[in-house]
Amino acid sequence: MRFKVLAFAGSPRRHGNSETLLDWVLAAMDESEDVSVEKHALTDVMVAPCRGCNACEVLNRCVQRDDMDWIHDRIIEADCIVLSAPVYCMGLAAQAKALVDRAQVFRSRKYVLKLPIIPPERKGKRMGLFVSTAGQHWDYVFDASVPAVKCFFHVIDVRERDLRYLMVNGVDHKGEIDRHPTARGDAERMGREIVERLRTLQAEPGAG
């Protein structure tokens, strides 16, 4: 497989709106023979919150031993990282925020230790996608989640220009996304576009 897609379903509810939206994206990506998709639900893994000890600024690794050990490696290996999470109380659901905060080790590596996150030949060739849903209809309902998401992708070396957003508001109860007029089509289009761009980026010479 040329392209590895690593996806996180960050909702505490399995197969709800944000995960369904994610699944549509992943299914569209999976249609391509050169793409492999790996999805992990955060309900099935143990990722404790960051303890804020800043030891990673010296150790270049987290002092906590949990599933972040292997997730950390997968994040480095992936060509595309997809984070899906619903908006709860005007922000990322706590489970997703815990994962985002544990990316602190990448921030320390990048800015304190000044070490590479990914090999130089892969720089500027990866993509990121944030998939989200919210019960409220407000058009600003995702605004407070986006800064954390931007930081997450930034520290794992996905450039802002290579980060995409798929956010659907006004879906609350399980299954509501199925009745949304455009969500499924938008998700499938997003999946295909990202794969297309991964191919374009890989064909480009030099690091970005």
Partner: protein
């Protein structure tokens, strides 16, 4: 009855910048005659919201843990001070996990309409957000505020003040900040005086 102030720290650090700033606020409140109490989320055993939406029908959370009595205590307080450092442009996962569990109260208020707060109630209940951040940018708190606004609104507290101190990395901690601790102490006193006048 004295004014009751409940401070909740969502920092994984004990006695770090955020909790120290909260302590200063609580000390100011106590000096003004309030009864103060502090809860450390990290010491509690609790789950985040499961997103099951059962509370939309029953008004009750299916999860019963350390947050169950805490949410009750919050509803009995006159002032709620929520303290969290900024991690990745937002509040900590501990604080977010706690706020997300307010969903049952949100359902009581906005779906079932069994929880109501009069304008008079809001005027006598203050919500305060206390935060610190390593980064210098003053905008570092912006994305944390909507969650606070939503939570205070649901629980019937008027969002009265932000006590924020950024640039902790440069100041080498809250104690190196020229004004933050004194300002927090003063704010604690001011809010208690306002609430005391209100309840008379």
């Amino acid at each position: 009855m004295s004014v009751s102030v409940l401070g909740i720290s969502g920092s994984p650090h004990r006695h770090g910048n955020t909790e120290t700033l909260l302590d200063s606020f609580l000390a100011g409140a106590e000096a003004a005659g309030a009864t103060v109490e502090k809860v450390i989320l990290r010491e509690l055993d609790y789950m985040s919201c499961r997103g099951c939406n059962v509370c939309h029908k029953t008004g009750l959370c299916v999860v019963q843990d350390a947050l169950t009595p805490l949410l009750e205590r919050i509803l009995a307080a006159d002032c709620l001070a929520l303290a969290s450092p900024i991690y990745t442009m937002g509040i900590t996962a501990e604080m977010k996990g706690f706020l997300d569990r307010g969903q049952a109260l949100w359902a009581q208020k906005y779906i079932l309409r069994t929880l109501e707060h009069s304008r008079g109630h809001l005027a006598c209940h203050a919500g305060v957000f206390i935060s610190t951040a390593g980064m210098g940018s003053g905008q570092v708190f912006d994305a944390a505020i909507p969650a606070m606004k939503a939570f205070f609104g649901t629980l019937g507290f008027e969002y009265s003040a932000n006590i924020l101190a950024n640039d902790m990395d440069r100041y080498k901690g809250i104690r190196g900040h020229p004004t933050a601790l004194v300002d927090a102490f003063k704010k604690g006193g001011e809010i208690v005086k306002t609430l005391a006048a209100c309840s008379q």
